[in-house]
Structures are given as structure tokens and as C-alpha cells.
């Protein structure tokens, strides 16, 4: 009891976040074990983990670094494709599933982080919406290039082509890695809910510790006032790049999880285009910018809504749109804020208390 009291506010807050994830995991896992879960929910578990990681990692860029990024799906795409190629190449060499998958995830994270770093160098000189548009451009370039490129490997080395599989000129034993728009097929299905949750926890540890560290405070000071931060000797470029690259690397982890959950990996506008980047951004904004726990909840709720609305058939996506608009207005409109304050439960209780005291 004393220990809890003596904990600082942030530690307590973080503990709640971890506890939330672990309790949710325990409840769901029990349901899975006892078979009390629908196939839909069971199939959704890994995607949910993917979106949660994406939302948390984007929150690092948007909420903590304070820069708008519309290319998060691009980093996810890099992670997904690199890890998937790795798994395909090593599927016969490393037969221990978990070991191969961990290496694939690490590779996905490194590749995505590297891209984040490379993109970050020129991009972080820009501000606000210009930075947003360049990240969007980056995401679209990644998707476009992956859709156009054919990659194959044989004993002579790696072959590239922009034409088709035949023009790769592979030998008999050659293996086609990326088949243009048909992407990669046959990635081993290594992703599980348990691994997903472990990755969420790792992501949380990385981000929450970063936030409460010296580095994190430096990053947040850049967000709050760049000039002031610079004047006290904080290396703006270094910290910005660091945050950006970590965020990209974590998106790469989510990409690896995504890729190993599906047997087909293609770079469609739907999964790696700006639409996806925007969807992740919606999670972050709806959950509260800079609020990690909020991102988790929003990612889960917003991924579930379209699925639970399936019975609405054609009106499903329309409802989703209305949910977005209404939530934003309910949260931010001054008139509704006023209404809410007037009729909120807390005020009502407080008023009663107050009335009692007066009596």
C-alpha cells in the first residue's frame, strides 16, 4: 500500500496501462483456452495487436514529437516485406518457428528504422503540413515501387526487374521473392496472439521509458517550444531523428506481425496506402494525442466497430464515417462540452455533496 502511494503519478499511470494490457490479455486468453470465443474474434486478435502497435508507435511521432506523419503505413510496408522475404529465405534453414520469427521481426524493425532514419534526415527540416505531405509521398513511393518490382534469387545472386517474372532470368532452382503486384505469397503463419501481446508490451516498454527519460523530455521540449529547446542546447535534429526512427522501427514490427498473419502480402492502397496511414492517425487522434493508453483503446474500439457492424451490410462504412464525425464533434465542440459539463455525472455528485454540506 505504501509502495503504491509513494509511486509518482507517471509511474502509476504507466502501471495502469501495463495492467490494462495484461488483464485484457488474460481475459481473452482464458476465453480462447476455454473455447468461449467466436471465430471472428479469434481471427481478429492478431490484427488488433498490429493496430495497437501501429497506433502507439505513431503516437510517438504525432503526440510526443509533435509532427504530423501521413506515411506510417510506408514504414509498416517496409517491415512487412523485409521480414516476409527473410522468412521465405530461411524457412528451410531455421526450423524453430519462434527463432525465425523473432529474427524476422528484428530485421523488419531494423529495415523500417533505417528507412525512417534516411527519410527523416531531409524531411525533419520541414515543418507542419509540409512534413506531413512528404511522409505521405514517401508512403506512396514505397507502395508504388513494391508494386512495380520483381525480385528473384538463385545461385547467381539477386535479380531485379520492372517487367515480369520471365524477364528475371532465374535459373531452374531460382526462387521468385516479390512478384510485382502479386507481392509475396506463402509467408509462414507465425503470428499468434501471445506474440502479438508480447510485442505490444515491448513497444510499451520502449515508448513509456523513452517518455520518462532524459531523451524523452528533450523530445517533448522540442514539441512544446523548439526555439526554447534549441536555446538550452538540445540537439534538435538528433532527438527528432531518434524519435522518428524509433517510431518507424516499431511500425516495422507491426508490419512483420501483419505479414506473418496472412499468407498473401501485397501492397494495395487499402493496406499500405495513405488510407492506412490515415486510419492509424485516426486511432491516435481519437485516443488522445500523446496519450498512449488512449491510443490502445481507440485502436481496439475502431477496429472492432466495422466488424461488429457487419449486420448493417451496405450501411456499415457509412456508420463508421458518422462515428468518426460525431466523436470528434462530441469531444471538441464548445456547445457540447458545455452541455456535458452541465449534465455530467461527476458534477451531479459534486453538487449533491455540496448541497449536503450546505445543509
Amino acid at each position: 500500500m505504501n509502495m503504491i502511494k509513494s509511486m509518482s503519478k507517471t509511474t502509476k499511470n504507466n502501471a495502469i496501462t501495463y495492467a490494462m494490457v495484461i488483464i485484457a490479455f488474460a481475459v481473452v486468453q482464458t476465453m480462447v483456452m476455454t473455447g468461449n470465443i467466436t471465430s471472428l474474434m479469434n481471427g481478429l486478435l492478431v490484427p488488433l495487436c498490429t493496430y495497437v502497435i501501429l497506433a502507439i508507435s505513431l503516437n510517438l511521432t504525432v503526440g510526443i514529437l509533435g509532427e504530423l506523419s501521413l506515411g506510417h503505413a510506408g514504414f509498416m510496408c517496409v517491415g512487412a516485406f523485409s521480414s516476409s522475404i527473410f522468412s521465405q529465405l530461411t524457412v528451410d534453414v531455421i526450423t524453430t518457428g519462434w527463432m525465425r520469427f523473432s529474427l524476422a521481426i528484428i530485421l523488419g524493425a531494423i529495415m523500417a528504422g533505417l528507412f525512417g532514419f534516411l527519410v527523416g534526415i531531409p524531411v525533419l527540416r520541414l515543418k507542419g503540413d509540409y512534413l506531413a505531405i512528404v511522409t505521405l509521398a514517401f508512403g506512396e513511393i514505397v507502395k508504388n515501387v513494391i508494386n512495380a518490382i520483381y525480385v528473384g534469387i538463385d545461385e547467381a545472386g539477386v535479380h531485379f526487374s520492372l517487367q515480369d517474372v520471365t524477364s528475371l532470368g532465374l535459373s531452374e532452382t531460382g526462387l521468385v521473392l516479390i512478384k510485382g503486384p502479386r507481392g509475396i505469397t506463402g509467408t509462414p503463419k507465425d503470428s499468434t496472439f501471445v506474440i502479438g501481446v508480447i510485442l505490444i508490451i515491448i513497444t510499451l516498454i520502449v515508448i513509456l521509458n523513452l517518455m520518462n527519460s532524459r531523451t524523452g523530455r528533450a523530445i517533448m521540449s522540442i514539441r512544446d517550444n523548439r526555439i526554447a529547446a534549441e536555446s538550452v542546447g538540445i540537439n534538435i535534429t538528433k532527438y527528432k531523428l531518434l524519435a522518428f526512427a524509433i517510431s518507424a522501427a516499431l511500425a516495422g514490427v507491426a508490419g512483420a506481425l501483419y505479414a506473418h498473419n496472412l499468407s498473401t502480402l501485397t501492397a494495395l492502397p487499402k493496406n499500405f496506402g495513405y488510407n492506412m496511414s490515415i486510419m492509424i492517425l485516426v486511432f491516435v487522434v481519437l485516443g488522445g494525442i500523446g496519450n498512449i493508453r488512449g491510443s490502445i483503446i481507440a485502436a481496439v474500439v475502431l477496429t472492432l466497430i466495422p466488424e461488429l457492424l457487419r449486420s448493417l451490410n451496405d450501411y456499415r462504412m457509412l456508420m463508421y464515417a458518422i462515428v468518426l464525425i460525431v466523436t470528434m464533434i462530441c469531444t471538441w465542440s464548445p456547445k457540447i462540452k458545455e452541455l456535458r459539463e452541465r449534465y455530467s455525472l461527476q458534477n451531479w455528485i459534486q453538487k449533491k455533496k455540496h448541497a449536503k454540506e450546505v445543509v
Binding site: 513511393i141 515501387v145 490515415i278 464515417a321
Partner: protein, 293 residues
């Protein structure tokens, strides 16, 4: 000769981007928000023309005017319901609302018109003009598109400089707080901006679908994004910037396809954008933002 016709096609495509980008840029300059639903207003405008020409058999001019009116009303209604309550909210909240509106319009169109492609009959009917011995063919749609773009830019520039409302818009875009103190009705100015932007979207829709006659509920989204890119390219908030950005984007897209690779056309467009922004961080004609300490 080939080069010349690529150039003309590029300018034609670019002119459509430019008109859409104008709507983006005006709204951004004055309301300081990225109106992601702008592309979908284009789609609505095109459907209005499609229905009034094909089903109601109205004359072309009337249906174009009808489409402009419908889009203006739609723009004002969207602004009033979805954006006005969020004036004080963070920029990102408004962005998400705009995305919500975009999904909303797409799905309403999907429910009303279905997913099937509608073929749009061109609003201008005349034979293409050929010169240089049949080597270069210029369609009437191309000429009308380019002409419309020039007229719109000239009219807008005149309006911004010489009308009371236009100057109010400039004032709001400079400093909305100060403008309010000077007695400018900021809310009304923003509403008028949305009306003009949506009217432009209707015109852009008609031109887009005349030149490229396939209409689906998702017709507006990709040109919308490209026009947004064009607006940033030219320096967002600047009217001549939107014109230059749009036309350059059109030319780059066509030239990239023609001379480099038709598969990588998008990568080329976005790649050039990144390079331009690294060299000129606020776009070609964007104002250098002064940082206040």
C-alpha cells in the same frame, strides 16, 4: 512533335489538378485546415451533372450551373455541421473530421448510385483540332479545361485583391484574431471560402469527368490527394502557387510516364515533390514563415 503533345496533355491534366488545388489552398489559407473531403465534393458535382444530363435531360449549361449550386450548398452545410463546431479544436481533430466527411460522402454515393462505373458524356461536343499534319491532336476538352483554369485563376486573383470579401479573406488568412478585432466576421468569411472552394470543386468535377469520362464513388479521392500535393508543391495558401503546382504536377506525371516508366509514374511525381520541398521547404511560392520568439 511527340514532346509537344505530351506537353499539351500534361498542361490539360495539370489544369484540372490546379482547379482542385485552388479549392484546397483557399480553405487552407483561410480556415487553416486540410479539407480532405474536397476531392469527394468533386465526385458529388460530377454525379449531379451526370444525373441531370442523362436522366433529367437538362441542357448542359443548366446542369453545370445546377452542379455548382448543389456543391456550394453541400460545402456550406458540411462546414456548418462538421467544421464550425471545431473552430477551437486542435488542427488534427479537424483533419479527422474531414476524413470522416470524405468517407461519408463516398459511402452515400455508393448507396445511391451503386459501385458501377458511369460513363460521363463530355459537356463540350466538337471535333478535335489537329495540326502539324495530324501529329498533334488537341481535343476540345483540353482547350476548354485550360481556358477554364486560366479564367478561374484570373477571376479569383481579381476577387481577392479588389472585393471587400476578398480582402477580408486575405486579412483572415494573415491573422484571424486581428481580423476579428478589425470588425471582420471571421465565421462568415470562412463560410464564403468554403462556398467558393466547393463551387470550384463542381467545375473541376465537370472538367475532370469530361476529359476522363469514368465516374465512380471513388473518382474524387485520388485527384483530390494529387491536388493536395499540387497545392503543397506550389506553396499551400498561395493562389498562383496552386496554379503553378497543379500544372507542373500534370506535366511531371505525363512526362514521367512517357520518358521514364509508366509503372513508376506515381513514384516519380512524389519523388520530385520531395526534392522540391527539400530545396524549398515551403513550396515554390510559399511564404517563408517568420518564427517569433
Amino acid at each position: 512533335m511527340e514532346f509537344l503533345s505530351y506537353l499539351i496533355n500534361g498542361i490539360s491534366l495539370g489544369s484540372v489538378f490546379a482547379i482542385i488545388a485552388l479549392g484546397y489552398t483557399m480553405v487552407y489559407g483561410i480556415a487553416k485546415m486540410l479539407n480532405f473531403a474536397h476531392g469527394d465534393v468533386i465526385m458529388v458535382g460530377s454525379y449531379v451533372v451526370f444525373v441531370s444530363v442523362n436522366s433529367m435531360e437538362l441542357p448542359t449549361v443548366v446542369s453545370v450551373l445546377l452542379s455548382i449550386v448543389v456543391c456550394i450548398v453541400l460545402g456550406v452545410v458540411i462546414e456548418g455541421i462538421a467544421y464550425k463546431p471545431l473552430r477551437q479544436a486542435p488542427k488534427l481533430a479537424v483533419l479527422i473530421t474531414a476524413i470522416g466527411v470524405s468517407y461519408f460522402l463516398q459511402n452515400v454515393a455508393l448507396l445511391i448510385f451503386g459501385a458501377d462505373t458511369k460513363s460521363f458524356q463530355s459537356v463540350v461536343k466538337a471535333d478535335p483540332i489537329t495540326f502539324a499534319g495530324g501529329q498533334v491532336v488537341v481535343s476540345v476538352e483540353t482547350i476548354v479545361t485550360i481556358a477554364a483554369c486560366i479564367i478561374i485563376v484570373l477571376a479569383l486573383s481579381y476577387f481577392m485583391k479588389h472585393s471587400k470579401m476578398g480582402r477580408a479573406m486575405l486579412a483572415v488568412s494573415e491573422d484571424s484574431g486581428a481580423a476579428q478585432l478589425m470588425g471582420i466576421n471571421v465565421n462568415r468569411t470562412i463560410t464564403v471560402t468554403f462556398a467558393i472552394g466547393s463551387g470550384l470543386a463542381a467545375i473541376a468535377g465537370v472538367l475532370l469527368c469530361s476529359a476522363y469520362p469514368a465516374l465512380t464513388p471513388y473518382t474524387g479521392s485520388m485527384p483530390g490527394i494529387k491536388a493536395f500535393v499540387a497545392a503543397v508543391f506550389g506553396g499551400i495558401g498561395s493562389i498562383p502557387g496552386a496554379l503553378i503546382g497543379g500544372i507542373l504536377l500534370g506535366i511531371i506525371e505525363i512526362m514521367g510516364k512517357a520518358y521514364i516508366s509508366s509503372q513508376l509514374a506515381d513514384a516519380i511525381v512524389f519523388g520530385v515533390l520531395i526534392v522540391v520541398l527539400i530545396v524549398k521547404p515551403t513550396g515554390l511560392l510559399g511564404k517563408q514563415i517568420q518564427e517569433k520568439v
